[in-house]
């Protein structure tokens, strides 16, 4: 299942209790780096794709997820925001939700390390 990513505005699907009253929990993350990507893993147990909101606006990634919590009272939501570094391409985010872990993959931008500069001669 792919959670919805919508630039500029979060996607809302199912109705949910008032956002103001619901307590907020900051989920823990791991960040892995390879030559071509930055990967973020986020623990969000009790969350399915319908209750996950991911939005990107101006180099900021915002995550909100309502937790299905019939036995833990009160119900709460996960919330975390990230500053997206310039090295990565926010448009190419890949998001995967599996077994209560959200994996976000940000491909790195391909930038030339150097370029030749032509010198004009008169």
């Amino acid at each position: 299942m792919q959670p919805r990513t919508n630039p500029e505005s979060p996607a809302r699907t199912a109705p949910r209790p008032s956002d103001d009253a619901t307590p907020v929990v900051t989920p823990p993350i791991d960040v892995l780096e390879t030559d071509d990507a930055l990967t973020v893993l986020i623990d969000v147990p009790g969350v399915d794709a319908d209750s996950l909101e991911l939005s990107v606006a101006r180099e900021k990634l915002e995550l909100t997820a309502h937790r299905r919590a019939p036995l833990f009272e009160p119900a709460y939501r996960y919330r975390r925001t990230f500053q997206i570094p310039r090295e990565v391409d926010a448009d190419g985010i890949d998001a995967k939700l599996e077994d209560g872990v959200l994996t976000l993959r940000f491909p790195k931008r391909v930038t030339p390390t150097s370029r030749s500069i032509r010198v004009r001669t008169s």
Binding site: P23, V24, V25, T26, P28, I29, D30, V31, L32, E33, T34, D35, L38, T39, V40, L41, D43, V44, P45, G46, V47, D48, K60, R68, L71, F72, E73, Y76, R79, R80, T81, F82, Q83, I84, P85, R86, E87, E98, D99, G100, V101, R109, V110, T111, P112, T113, S114, R115, I117, V119, R120, T121, S122
Partner: protein, 167 residues
């Protein structure tokens, strides 16, 4: 007269990986709320409980008909979870290790590595044959229906009339 070309290569963004000591790769803007501790204290865990290791949250509830054990085990594979019931004691084991793909560098590690062993002495008798367990979205739920004699049953109250004996 043409201006001498400046060396502009330094002004270009570096394609090599940003070093951690520069700034955090991700700087969170919202770190304020940590209700997790408060919620954990409010969890209705079994009274006689011994817990070791792991940061996974475990709670035990009684809904009248059954005991319900709920454990948050995100990313824990089914073959890394064990639920054992021996008479009155429920034992939960779960483990999760961080797996680093080859060539990957761990920049930030907040997610706990889980090595959970939790033994809970059940407050009521349960029907061992009717116990079920399921895992969904990283949440383990074990339902232990109470043994018939352990369920609350209404006791009818006989009406005793109190009449004054007449002389």
């Amino acid at each position: 007269m043409p201006v001498a070309a400046r060396d502009v290569t330094r002004a270009l963004p570096r394609a090599e990986r940003a070093v951690v000591e520069d700034t955090m790769l991700f700087s969170e803007m919202n770190d304020a709320f940590r209700m997790l501790d408060a919620l954990e204290r409010r969890l209705d865990a079994g009274r006689n409980e011994r817990a070791r290791g792991g940061a996974a949250r475990v709670g035990l509830r009684d809904d009248g008909e059954a005991l319900l054990l709920v454990a948050e085990l995100p990313g824990v594979r089914l073959d890394e979870v064990e639920v054992l019931l021996e008479t009155d004691v429920l034992t939960l084991r779960a483990s999760r290790r961080r797996s680093l793909p080859e060539g990957a560098r761990l920049v930030r590690a907040e997610r706990p590595e889980v090595q959970l062993v939790r033994q809970i002495e059940l407050p009521t008798r349960v029907d061992a044959d009717a116990v079920t367990a399921s895992m969904r979205d990283g949440v383990l739920q074990v339902r232990l229906p109470k043994a018939a004699e352990a369920r609350p049953r209404r006791i009818p109250i006989a009406h005793a009339s109190s009449e004054r004996p007449t002389n």
